[in-house]
């Protein structure tokens, strides 16, 4: 402060004086004067040129320092800005990538849908097929605001042209009535669930159209364009309509498809000879190309969007308005067709009328575009939600809806993609597949069995390969028999939450311990109260199956064990339960087949040994069509039917064996069809063979797998066959056509064994497979 005051004092003192030299004088004087004055004054008076210079330099240096500091600060802030901008860009890119990913997944979804539809119906589902090519190109544009605005503009133009053509076609009162009815129907359908805003929106659109139509109807009757060109346009619209209507009304899918197919064929025929298109028509057609492409883009983005999506709201409302128009168009088209027959030689309206139309349409179109900007983000999406839910009630399209479900779809797809399962499990890719097949089943009402199966549960608890499994006849309970000497009972309704995989984990509710070696086979009695298991110790253990709701850590109850059926001297490989007689059949590596009475623990009722001319029995089953017969297959490749009462061999089923290696003719499993007199055998040489029980003739033989077929099961209705093989795959076959309808890859190999057993649930929709990797899998 003193210093600052100093120069002022100095200068003011200097002012009357002149020159630097003189400055010193008055300074000295001032100094002398102020010396006599106060101490502050003394400090002030001591000015010297060097002092001042020093002061100035000091100040300047300070300023420089401060400036440098400011520069540094500014640089820092700029760096921060740049960093944040970069971050923001990164987030945007991330967002773009995710959206792209969503679209790709959707694309895959649509493809799969098409495939499945083709598989089911043999016809192409028009739904997705048109979209992919343009979709991919659209994807390149990414869902930025601009392309969408462009497309929106194109829609407007398209709709304008559409309106123009409508009025060209010419409205009659009947058409108007029909149209308004249709509109009301559609509106009524959608207005139950859509927002008021949407209603108003659509209403306004409709009203606009109506008003317009009335206007234009006055203007003039149809000056129809070249019939073909207009028809072309309608076809484009029809196709676009089919896209939307597909998504809207599943019930109408078939009908629309056919109509689309029809019209598309007509279009192609028409388009070729149509050389007389004038410039206007061509332009119009081009516009419709954009329209179609943009619609496709729209529908893709629509279905890809989360609820929180931004521009998509715009689009969602426009297509809704479109829906209405499409309905109108179809009606008009039909009407037009009729009229076309009557009329010929029509002219296009001149450009001025076009311009008028455009102006009119533009007014109308502004309304829908306003609405989304007015409406909050959540509402259009929510309005979309219920409408689509009802529209696609059957297709669980989790994509379009709340972000959480969208994410879960992505997660689900990711997990499914990452899972080990192979081609057949692409069904797992789509969350919707179950519901899809349900929808088709309901629609077709064919059979109780679902057509596509998906993995649901993985049963982990055994320490070694699972050799056999059996379902409880009524409850959703499964018993597995394993080489780790135990049997385990599982309740499929008691699942443990699993974090990672799509299939749920189940824990066993009871472990049966009594065998002294690997347990090889298991069957349940017809009421599910008992089960029987056979193992390498040659014993058949009978068990009282515990209550499925038992606590797994309850105290040990020895009454669970009924007691062993003793008799076999070697491993018991096969068991079959006869409900009619309460008997149990068993086959063993000691070469005998035995029949037991299950009511008591006693030696076998009868023993078949047949002197082992047929070999060692590997598998046995009851003949369903004749309860006193049983069928058994032998290691030498023969299969025979025996009469249990007379203990005679009735029939040896035909088999052509060559005298080469032994093991290639091994038959691993024989089962009897539940309703028809057919026996089915699974062979080590990869075949499955069908025999007639009455004649013994081979009905059919097919190579079923890449490796030995180990197990067979027929569904309770007798329509499907399931086969498991050491090639790690399970296949489902349609028994009538003997074609494979689904394949699963499941279970890993231990040594060269993979799948040991497969089974259907007798009354519920479960199928299960037992693997050498100590896992059992259940599919629904």
């Amino acid at each position: 402060m003193d210093e600052q005051a100093g120069p002022g004092v100095f200068f003011s003192n200097n002012h009357p004086g002149a020159g630097a030299a003189k400055g010193l004088g008055p300074l000295a004087e001032a100094a002398a004067v102020s010396d006599g004055a106060a101490a502050a004054g003394a400090a002030r008076a001591q000015y010297s040129l060097p002092g001042i210079l020093h002061f100035l330099q000091h100040e300047w240096a300070r300023f420089e320092v401060e400036r440098a500091q400011w520069e540094v600060e500014r640089a820092e802030l700029q760096a921060q800005i740049a960093f944040l901008q970069g971050e923001r860009k990164g987030q945007e890119n991330l967002k773009k990538d995710l959206v792209r990913r969503i679209k790709m997944l959707e694309y895959a979804l649509k493809q799969e849908r098409a495939k499945y539809h083709k598989l089911k119906y043999g016809t192409e589902l028009n739904q997705g097929d048109m979209k992919p090519p343009s979709y991919d190109s659209d994807e390149g544009n990414e869902t930025e605001v601009q392309p969408q605005q462009n497309s929106q503009l194109m829609w407007k133009q398209g709709r304008q042209l559409l309106r123009q053509y409508l009025q060209e076609v010419g409205y009659t009162d009947t058409i108007l009535d029909v149209k308004s009815k249709r509109v009301r129907a559609l509106l009524g359908f959608s207005s139950d669930v859509t927002d008021r805003e949407d209603d108003k929106n659509q209403d306004s659109v409709i009203n606009g159209t109506d008003a317009e139509v009335k206007e234009t109807a006055m203007i003039g009757k149809s000056e129809l364009t070249d019939s073909a060109s207009v028809l072309d346009n309608f076809k484009f619209l029809e196709n676009a309509a089919a896209d939307f209507s597909d998504e809207d009304e599943d019930e109408d899918v078939d009908g629309r498809e056919k109509s689309v197919i029809d019209t598309s064929t007509i279009v192609r025929k028409k388009a070729l000879p149509d050389t007389s298109e004038d410039r206007d028509t061509k332009e119009a057609l081009k516009e419709f190309d954009f329209l179609v492409a943009s619609e496709e883009g729209d529908s893709e983005s629509r279905s890809a969007g989360d609820g929180t999506d931004w521009e998509k709201e715009d689009q969602c409302l426009v297509p809704e308005a479109w829906n209405v128009d499409q309905g109108v168009i179809t009606k008009l088209k039909e009407q037009y067709k009729k009229e076309r027959k009557g009329k010929k030689g029509v002219k296009r309206p001149n450009r001025s009328k076009l311009q008028d139309m455009l102006a009119n349409l533009r007014d109308v179109d502004e309304l829908p575009s306003l609405q989304p900007s007015v409406g909050s983000p959540s509402r259009p999406s929510s309005s979309r939600l219920p409408e689509h839910e009802i529209n696609r009630a059957d297709e669980v399209e989790a994509l379009t809806f709340p972000p959480s479900s969208g994410k879960s779809f992505i997660m689900g797809a990711d997990e499914a993609l990452e899972s080990e399962l192979g081609l057949g499990e692409l069904a797992g890719l789509t969350v919707a597949n179950e519901a899809d097949s349900l929808a088709y089943d309901i629609a077709n009402n064919k059979d109780a069995l679902r057509k596509t199966w998906n993995p649901k549960f993985t049963l982990r608890s055994h320490f070694d390969g699972i050799r056999a499994l059996a379902f409880h006849p009524i409850e959703p309970v499964l018993i597995t028999a394993s080489e780790d000497h135990t049997l385990k009972m599982w309740n499929l309704q008691k699942t443990a939450p699993a974090k990672k995989s799509t299939s749920l984990d189940v824990e066993p509710i009871y472990t049966f311990r009594a065998h002294k070696g690997p347990v090889l086979c298991v069957v349940m009695s017809s009421n599910g109260e008992q089960c029987y298991s056979g193992g390498t110790d040659g014993l058949i253990q009978g068990w009282n199956t515990t209550n499925p709701n038992i606590d797994p850590y309850d105290s040990y109850d020895p009454s669970v064990l009924r007691g062993p059926l003793v008799g076999h001297t070697d491993a018991v490989w096969g068991l079959a339960y006869s409900a009619a007689h309460h008997r149990l059949l068993s086959c063993s590596a000691d070469g005998t087949l035995r029949v037991w009475n299950t009511a008591e623990v006693a030696p076998a009722l009868s023993v078949f040994s047949d002197n082992q001319e047929l070999g060692i029995p590997a598998s046995v089953d009851l003949v369903s069509s004749d309860p006193s017969h049983m069928v058994a297959s032998f290691s030498k490749g023969y299969t025979s039917i025996f009469n249990m009462e007379t203990q005679q061999r009735i029939l040896t089923l035909e088999s052509n064996l060559d005298a080469t290696t032994n093991s290639s003719c091994q038959i691993n499993r024989v089962i009897s069809h539940p309703t028809l007199p057919i026996s089915i055998t699974a062979h080590e040489d990869r075949h499955i063979k069908f025999y007639d029980n009455n004649t013994g003739k081979l009905i059919h033989s097919m190579v079923a797998h890449l490796e030995a077929v180990t197990s067979l099961a027929v569904d309770p209705n007798g329509l499907y066959l399931m086969s498991g093989s050491h090639d790690c795959s399970i296949r489902l076959w349609n028994l009538e056509s003997k074609t494979c309808i689904q394949e699963f890859t499941a279970h890993r190999k231990k040594f060269e064994e993979s799948i040991h057993d497969v089974a259907f649930h007798p009354s519920k929709c479960y199928i299960a497979s037992a693997g050498a990797d100590a896992l059992a899998k259940v599919f629904v």
Binding site: K500, R513, I616, S619, T661, S663, K750, F751
Partner: protein, 203 residues
């Protein structure tokens, strides 16, 4: 059953195979095994070859990750202990301590422990893959070992001579330091055990 001449060996126990013919195929060296369950296959193969040769059984092949090796061994122990539990169930005689087999604490304990071990060793959370084990899960192996060891401490009899199970288990536990030596209370006959361990307390 090995096929005749020239064809590949198929290691399968097909239906109809006699017990004595089980696993009737030539041994495979560890490197040749290309299945994901190779470790289990290898261990079981060695046990079948000679169940007394605990050293060979416990010796991991070259390059084998230790965590997986321990895990698969534990699984095998639980598997074999099932047999023990069965025997136990069968031969449990009423003592002074309990009247009926239902009350037998040893049976309880054995069953619960084995079921619990099965649950843990197969749980998705800890042991998702049988080919690689995460570090945190390896720690669980120690607790499983403790529990299993207590099964041994409940019973120890001539079953051992058939399978050398306790013997092998003790060696296994010591080799991989899964339990502290003070907990090893079952008297093991082997001299090697006493040699390698100093001051092991005996029951």
């Amino acid at each position: 059953m090995v096929m005749a001449e020239g064809a590949a060996v198929l290691r399968r126990n097909r239906p109809g195979t006699k017990v004595q013919d089980f696993y009737n195929w030539p041994d495979e060296s560890f490197d040749e095994m290309d299945s994901t369950l190779a470790v289990q296959q290898y261990i079981q193969q060695n046990i079948r070859a000679d169940c007394c040769n605990t050293d060979k059984i416990l010796e991991p092949p070259e390059g084998q990750e230790e965590g997986v090796w321990k895990y698969e061994h534990l699984r095998q122990f639980c598997l074999e202990l099932n047999g023990l539990a069965v025997k136990f169930q069968r031969e449990c005689h009423p003592d002074t301590s309990h009247k009926t087999p239902k009350e037998c604490p040893a049976i309880h304990y054995t069953r619960h422990t084995l079921d619990g071990a099965a649950c843990l060793l197969n749980s998705n959370k800890h042991f998702l893959s049988r080919v690689s084990i995460k570090e945190s899960s390896v720690a669980k192996l120690g607790s499983v070992c403790h529990r299993i060891y207590r099964i041994f401490s409940h019973i120890f009899d001539e079953y051992e001579n058939e399978t050398f199970l306790c013997h092998r288990f003790t060696k296994f536990v010591m080799k991989y330091n899964l339990m502290s030596k003070d907990n090893l209370i079952v008297p093991i006959l082997g001299e090697e055990v006493q040699n390698s361990v100093s001051g092991e307390s005996e029951a």
